[in-house]
Amino acid sequence: MTTDTSKTTGENAPTGGRPTMLRAITAAGGLASVASTFLAWTWTSEFPGDLTFNGYPGGLQLLTLVLGLLTTLFALSAMDVRGLGWLTPAGSTQALRLMALGTFATTWFTVIAIAVDLGGLANWEPGAWVAAIAGLIPAVAAFLLPNDARPLKRPAKLPSWAEILIIAAVFAIGLYVVNYGIQTDADDPEPFLGYLIATGFAAAALFKAGVVTRLSALTAKYRSVTLIAALVTAVAFPFTQNKASYTELGVNILVFATVALGLNIVVGLAGLLDLGYVAFLGVGAYTAALVSGAGSSTLDIHLPFWAAVIAGAVVSLIFGVLIGAPTLRLRGDYLAIVTLGFGEIFRIAVLNLDGTSGPSVTNGPNGIPNIPPLEIFGFNFGEDHTVLGHTLDTNANYFLLMLLVTIVVVLVFSRAGNSRIGRAWVAIREDETAATAMGINGFRVKLIAFALGATLAGVAGTVWAHVQSTVVPEQYVFAGPVPPNSTFLLAAVILGGMGTIGGPLLGATLLFLIPKKLEFLQDYQLLAFGIALILLMRFRPEGIIPNRRQQLEYHETGQLDVPDQPQLSGNAVGVTKAEA
């Protein structure tokens, strides 16, 4: 039926001929992929996800289903089918290629995994053959298409309620996609690998199609709606989990994402390379652990939570100033070296403040266990609570508490970044000599950024101590297989995108979730980490979510948001000369 529509439109399309036919083939292939997921792909339920049913899709087939559907829709949009133009405002071919490739990769990954896991092609049911062929066709057809990248089309005028509804839908879909990843079965690697492949290709395709740009324009237009939607989505997260292990993932991700965002003030805005940032998280965590009434704490006090937070913030601030003041006067890599040293000194000092090697403060390697659960206004964070018919476990409770800290850090980042002091940070990062010549006291401004970053990490640390209900020194290392460690945080910032809010949040999520779900990676995690970062630096140095500025810095051609202007004519000579 759908192919019929496309044929009629194809005849009217100005391009006509071969491209239209290729697009129709792609659309049909996508549809065939969708159809194939309703068949059984294998005979035994030993393969994770149970792909043995005729009649409805399951497990990894769902991913093929969604991508096949998207491929069909993109192909139809490429054929100018009325009502689908909004899918490909920036040109369809590249997006279509990525989407078709995604379908192909997801399907073939699944069927190959079946063959490998179960030992041979004999384990394929006819459905698997259909799926393999159906996945291949659109991928080939899409690659024969001519490129039609174009500047973003003008968006159609929509009533504002529709636009707000779109924003809400996007956040709902986002929550669904994230939940799908978090709730995949961690016993086998296949479902999560398939998920990564599918979401990776789909996201790239949506980006190439211009949908992402369009959406970010929309979110910029309705800022408060977007903020509320983001908040609602985040609050809804624990209500959509039904296992303690999922809420645990959630609260961990949130803590690390928040800390990474704090680090992004230091690294991304002010350009200060801090290699010992995790120590400030540790300072906050230890401070909170000491003053929160843990049995083994050397201080016999139990402050209320707000006081513990302030204590953690202040102590971190003091350490930040102590580290920053002597080093930030210097230029160059001194800060990196000193912070690297500080990170180690913190850990070793904590190890030795055990009463034998040094004064008794931290219990050395034993750490401070059994920090009593928080209680705020009679709400005990250690117990389950039923809210709106859903039981929130202790991790979910802490998730909601941590969300408050995240909001504070996001606010600090965006407000400070977009002000006199934020501009001074960026100026220092860009050219310190010029910045000081413009009247900026480089030392002072850098110290503020550094101390602010330290304070925010300290605040996050106070919650972190309670989430874990124990603090041990071994968590606060420079590099290690389990987060938090300074390398993890820095990598989250760089992977996600320096100088942005979304970047570190996404980076920390990926870096935390991937090793958790792919247990076979455990032994090679640091290797995989390194390879991923090298590839990133080669192909996308600005990170996954680029800062507007860095996008332009690394990819000269993409002048996105600069008003167009035929400017070079008069001065072209001067330019070339100057650069000669």
Binding site: R415, T433, T436, M438, R549, V562, N571, G574
Partner: protein
């Protein structure tokens, strides 16, 4: 215009040594309010180094610099705070900030809003931010860059980048503006426009000290010209005096013809100017690029 003779800048015996090399040797220079003073000299004469000494980027080995009677501390941000702003010979804009943001950074010393006020966003913060933007846009109008306010500065053509450097320097409401080769790499029309701009700046009450190789530009513009050769001040005086001084011509173009009359010399100066007008700034640029990046 009224020219009062109160000194704005007073450099006293400024000497700058780099190891064995004396880049600036005991230079005295005064700039009075309402004046445009030129500083010329061959490449490597020490002009940029002298500027760096004035603005605190270098701490002079000897000598002192005072602004309106008070000695300037050798810290760049305090010098700017006091009222001396500068541009750079090798353009040093904040390449990945917009044109407007560049000028806003220039406002830094004249605004006070710190971290707290940025976080709390009270009415005072909003007012100050709006006032800064307004002033910055004014300056962009003044320099003719208002239509490019949202461009990244790295994407501006060369001539406009130089103008933006001037706008950014003016944003600190300076009493003295130091321009280091403001027309290097510009075409003749742009040079003319810059000349007008400098006059306009002076008319707004800012004294100007300018380094330039373009002789016509300098002699049109300046009330007084000082010539620096090998780190030493050779001569200082009105353009007429400097223009016809044999030592200057010798330093610039080589030894004049034996007994050549003034007319011929002038012609030679003309020729040199014409050459200057079209020549790319490659040579002087690279010398100082090295110098400035070294610190």
């Amino acid at each position: 215009m009224t020219t009062t003779t109160s000194p704005v800048l007073n450099a006293n015996g400024v000497t700058m040594r780099f190891g064995g090399l004396t880049a600036v040797r005991s230079v005295d220079l005064t700039v009075n309010s309402g004046e445009i003073v030129g500083l010329i000299g061959p490449n490597g004469a020490g002009k940029t180094t002298f500027f760096n000494c004035l603005t605190g980027l270098y701490v002079p080995t000897e000598g002192s610099v005072s602004y309106k009677g008070t000695v300037l501390p050798p810290k760049p941000h305090l010098v700017t705070q006091a009222g001396v702003a500068r541009t750079f010979q090798n353009i040093r804009l904040f390449a990945n900030m917009t044109v407007l943001e560049n000028v806003l950074v220039g406002r830094h010393t004249r605004t006070k809003e710190g971290l707290w006020s940025a976080l709390l966003r009270g009415p005072g913060f909003k007012r100050a931010e709006a006032a800064s933007k307004e002033r910055a846009m004014e300056l962009l109008e003044f320099t003719g860059l208002a239509h490019k306010a949202d461009h990244l500065s790295r994407n501006l053509p060369y001539g406009e980048q130089r103008k933006l450097e001037i706008a950014r320097a003016l944003a600190s409401d300076p009493g003295l503006l130091l321009l280091d080769e403001p027309t290097a790499g510009m075409n003749p029309q742009e040079t003319r426009a810059t000349e007008e701009l400098v006059f306009a700046i002076r008319d707004q009450g800012t004294a100007v000290l300018v380094i330039e190789h373009d002789m016509r530009f300098i002699f049109n513009l300046c009330d007084r010209v000082a010539v620096l050769v090998q780190g030493q001040k050779l001569i200082e005086g009105t353009p007429d005096v400097v223009q016809s001084d044999e030592r200057v011509i010798a330093a610039y173009i080589g030894t004049p013809f034996e007994g050549a009359p003034g007319q011929e010399e002038a012609a030679e100066v003309e020729a040199a100017e014409a050459q200057q007008g079209t020549r790319p700034s490659g040579a002087p640029k690279s010398t100082t690029a090295r110098t400035e990046d070294g610190q």
